[in-house]
């Protein structure tokens, strides 16, 4: 179980591959569900050329670890990986990766869906977008969209 803050751009599929190779769970898991959030070059119909992602390091790590433990226990997951970017982010860069491994499919799918909602509502990250008219803090996350 790993929750990691990434200061630099990461490849989500390589991160999952590497994590899975180290995990020694081959033959045990029957299901893997993943979610990747990626930066788009527009938001609210405005072009966004860049984004700064600020966080509260100690609390972020604490919350991601806590969410992983809760999900693992609640759904009996075999493994969980969370990676979240901070710093300067460009369009098409991955922002967040969540991957859940379980014996059967519903556990991994439901846990993955729960984790991204919890993370969006609780983990202390803040986005500031660079638009044509300047920099603007994102007010609030879309509710469940």
């Amino acid at each position: 179980m790993v929750a990691r803050i990434a200061e630099l751009v990461f490849d989500p599929w390589q991160s999952i591959t590497a994590h899975q190779q180290q995990s020694n769970l081959a033959n045990q898991f029957g299901a893997t569900a993943t979610f990747i959030g990626t930066m788009r070059d527009f938001n609210d119909n405005e072009d966004v050329s860049r984004m700064q992602l600020e966080h509260y390091p100690a609390m972020t790590q604490h919350y991601l670890d806590k969410l992983e433990s809760e999900a693992k226990q609640k759904w009996g997951l075999l493994d969980v990986l969370i990676v979240h970017r901070v710093g300067e982010i460009n369009p098409a860069d991955p922002i967040v990766l969540i991957a859940c491994w379980s014996a059967h499919r519903r556990a991994s799918l439901d846990a993955c869906s729960w984790l991204i909602e919890e993370l969006k509502h609780k983990a202390p990250f803040w986005k500031k977008e660079t638009r044509q008219d300047g920099e603007k803090w994102v007010d609030t996350n879309t509710g469940g969209l």
């Binding site: 509260y56 979240h84 922002i95 993370l119 969006k120 509502h121 990250f125």
Partner: protein
């Protein structure tokens, strides 16, 4: 011992404070008042005490870390 205070994101920019320290107080609300020189609190400000979400009337002990920030927008 004193209380470590942190501000993040738009709140950090608006107040112009990133980190400060205050002496013994009763609640998280008191920390806000002293650290911001009684700036009016925006309605949506969140507070965390020792890395857990808390309330403005949560009690504060010496050595605690208290953080104030706007709604989170990660993920």
């Amino acid at each position: 011992m004193s209380i470590q205070v942190k501000f993040f994101a738009s709140l950090r920019e608006t107040l112009g404070i990133s980190e400060t320290r205050v002496n013994s107080v009763a609640t998280a609300g008191d920390v806000w008042d002293i650290a911001t020189n009684k700036t009016e609190r925006p309605v949506n400000v969140l507070v965390a005490v020792n890395l857990e979400y808390a309330q403005f009337d949560s009690p504060i002990n010496d050595g605690d870390e208290v953080a104030f920030f706007p709604p989170v927008t990660g993920g």
